[in-house]
Symmetry: C2
Subunit: 154 residues, 2 copies
Amino acid sequence: MRRFVITATAAALATATVAIAGGHGGNPAVKARNAHMGLYSFNLGMLGDMAKGTTEYDAAAASTAASQLAALAAFDQSAYWEEGTIQGEVDGSRAKAEIWSDAAGWAAKQELMKTASASLAEVAGNGLEALQGGVAGVGEACGACHKAYRGPRN
Amino acid sequence: MRRFVITATAAALATATVAIAGGHGGNPAVKARNAHMGLYSFNLGMLGDMAKGTTEYDAAAASTAASQLAALAAFDQSAYWEEGTIQGEVDGSRAKAEIWSDAAGWAAKQELMKTASASLAEVAGNGLEALQGGVAGVGEACGACHKAYRGPRN
């Protein structure tokens, strides 16, 4: 029975994971954090378009996107930031060595993103001005981390 | 004041979104869904490694990864599946036209993934055999959708 379960699990996993879009090649940790950033970008992009007036403010859509952003920020990201996956060493990485040499500073920036996106999720449905304030806070958190811990475009 | 807020928001957003990893070029919806699949893959990969015995079972880590998988599955993905973003038409897409022509079948598959990953999140911390059963269920949900709605590797 045990063997059957393991075999069935392995088969199901093979189906599931072998051919996920873009799933082949590259460092898994780097790909995971780039995917995470991509979902930040997508949700924040929707919110930013509303904040800037490019698209019309929609309280429900803003709340959903902001909640997703906050959920992502609260994900356990420890497995993403594998030591040695530094820009220049690993394909697709823009991580500076300071992420590991200044672990406390890095953790503080991650905390800032978590707090700012939780605040945004709280107010995103409360009108355009509330959204704008929340989005600005998240933008600052993104920028603070990128400035300190991200290298130049590859 | 209003203008100031908008300007500050725009500046913060520029900092935040301009240079997100891999953030330039390509269809935003396709990139977002590929990023989403990438995070599925990362979390499910950790769980699959435990289920197969490649890594040691860790109840807390399994619970965390399974909760993240379930949270992702519950995200509003409507903006990802933009009509016309079909394999062959848009770079990076493996979406079949059936996603749009068979919207009900497609929605059922998304629901299956939501249910299976919620079930996995409930049991992932309850020991290796519970994890294996839950992972197999998610693997089947992934496979069912890929088989029906995803084209061959690009």
